[in-house]
Symmetry: C2
Subunit: 307 residues, 2 copies
DNA sequence: TCAAAAGTGTTATCCTTACACCCATGT
DNA sequence: ACATGGGTGTAAGGATAACACTTTTGA
């Protein structure tokens, strides 16, 4: 390590992106007063950070957590801009993603798309907002000199799916909007918060949430974590709605069925769910045994045939 | 956060898994005296951790780094076992993976398979070691009572590929060997270090290295990071050797060619490399433009057709 | 001439995609 | 009857895996 480094003491805190899904709506737990993600100092009395986070969340929500995963550790000097917090340099923030089954009555859960309306491509509303933002971004691209303008245009083209929408680029899209001054956090005192740019969050919590959403969207493609968000038994439509809520895109029903069926991820319970209109649906149950074996499914390298 | 948590001050340090490939050998940088991964205290004078790590590594190796990525943050109480370090509770360790082009003359680079001989499935030697370890693990499975024995057997079966070898399960394999007391770090004073269990590393550095290898093996399957490890121009065989070195498995040459060609990842330079025996090979160059567009290639959900 | 490596063809198979269609229930 | 959702069939196209084979060099 470089000479002249000073040994420094840091404050450390945990920040949790706690996710549930209710029907068509992906929910994230936020603090009511501030709108921030739940967070607190790291307690040395826990054996591991993960264990500490798990026990805290389980106390808070009174629901077991299905899946916990570390997201990212920030120790950046410029984390909170604008504030006169010289000592923010010495704060380390470790963020986690945690999934739980839905908690209808508890307060503090909000639709995560209220913070990222452009991430919901399931309906016209979200797509209109995306189009509006692409418009604004296009001005921002043009406002740069020469080569930089081209770089900005390329980033915009990829991130906002002018060819095809990639649901996982949540963070890249937020960073672009941030740089362009199109979200309140970076708009400065001049720009009034514009319609459709989403509810802001304190500090860099919206970036952390974006990281969490991106990670979750990536993960469901190779590991069936969505079962941690569903009740014990569920219909195919409920499963599809959950995945659509997370990924923010509409899925093709028949093909989605087959995709799941073919992996043998679920089995029939024999029960029938007859709520709402339409033909009653079979209730399924997740086959937990399959997950461990399928922990890593996709080798994508052309390995040599044995012998 | 739970009531009664004490505000505590932490020491924070960075640990780097710095990787290069030379011919058939994947290399990792370690400190010569201790065999530890390079690490040092986090310096508050850097704008971000990532920036600090990058500048430090570039000084140390005098080579530019192609790719840096955060691995994991440990703040576990029981990180170092055996030592009488009561205050290890208050240490946070942030680990990074970094890739660089090969550095032949510099000292301190070691074959990462010297620490994980069972991870090299390219030849008979590694496969023999794996078979030996599976044997030892089988004893460990049997030594447990009832249901636990069955759980152990299933974990072993999956991790050690008794059906099929999954190159990405590096950490799971190491954890199994650790729990079974088959690596020096966990063997206790009784068990003499056994042949074929790999060179130990101080603290939990071998676990960190395992995490880095696993991450890299996973990453090369959906993002062509291996180009960060190759020189500007290279032959197809050099490319294949690099990927084989990282993944620890032999690849099928014709199909590997087509896999790369089909993604349009490389282009001919017009030059020819005529070293060694055999027909001279065309020299290729990596097409950097392709990467950004292909940042996320694999959507695996059956989305609705547009309109 | 042979060993070693480069490089091409080809086929069977599986997976993905898109479209079409029928089934069962409540109003 | 018809709207709503449940559920199946299938055929085209693409990707993959395995095998066989030709080409070009140095020793």
């Amino acid at each position: 390590m470089p000479a002249g480094m000073s040994e420094a003491a840091f404050k450390a805190d945990l920040t949790a992106v706690l996710v549930a899904v209710q029907g068509l709506v992906p929910l994230v737990l936020t603090l009511e007063e501030t709108g921030a993600l739940p967070s607190g100092p790291l307690a040395p009395e826990h054996r591991s950070i993960q264990a500490g986070l798990r026990s805290w969340v389980e106390q808070t929500t009174r629901h077991p957590i299905g899946h916990v995963e570390q997201l990212y550790t920030f120790a950046d000097r410029d984390r909170s801009r604008g504030g006169a917090e010289a000592d923010s340099v010495r704060a380390i923030s470790i963020s986690y993603l945690a999934l739980t089954r839905s908690v209808p009555d508890e307060t503090g859960w909000v639709d995560w798309y209220s913070h990222f309306p452009w991430e919901d491509q399931r309906g016209e509303a979200g797509r209109r907002i995306t189009a509006m933002l692409v418009d604004r971004l296009s001005d921002w691209c043009d406002s740069a000199p020469g080569a930089e303008a081209e770089r900005r245009r390329r980033r915009t083209r990829i991130a906002f799916g002018l060819e095809s929408w990639e649901d996982e680029l949540v963070l890249q899209r937020y960073e672009l909007l941030f740089e362009a001054g199109l979200v309140v956090e970076s708009a400065g005192s001049g720009g009034p918060p514009r319609e459709g740019t989403g509810r802001p969050m304190p500090r860099d919590h919206r970036r952390i949430l974006a990281t969490g959403i991106a990670r979750l969207r990536a993960k469901i493609k190779y590991r069936p974590v969505f079962f941690e968000l569903l009740p014990e038994t569920f219909t195919f439509l409920e499963l599809q709605n959950t995945v659509e809520a997370l990924s923010g895109v509409r899925l093709h029903k028949p093909n989605f069925r087959r995709l799941i069926a073919q992996q043998r991820l679920i089995e029939e319970t024999g029960m029938i769910s007859a709520v709402g209109p339409g033909r009653p649906a079979k209730l399924f149950r997740f086959r937990r045994e399959i997950v461990e074996a399928r922990a890593i499914a996709g080798t994508k390298l052309p390995v040599m045939p044995p012998r």
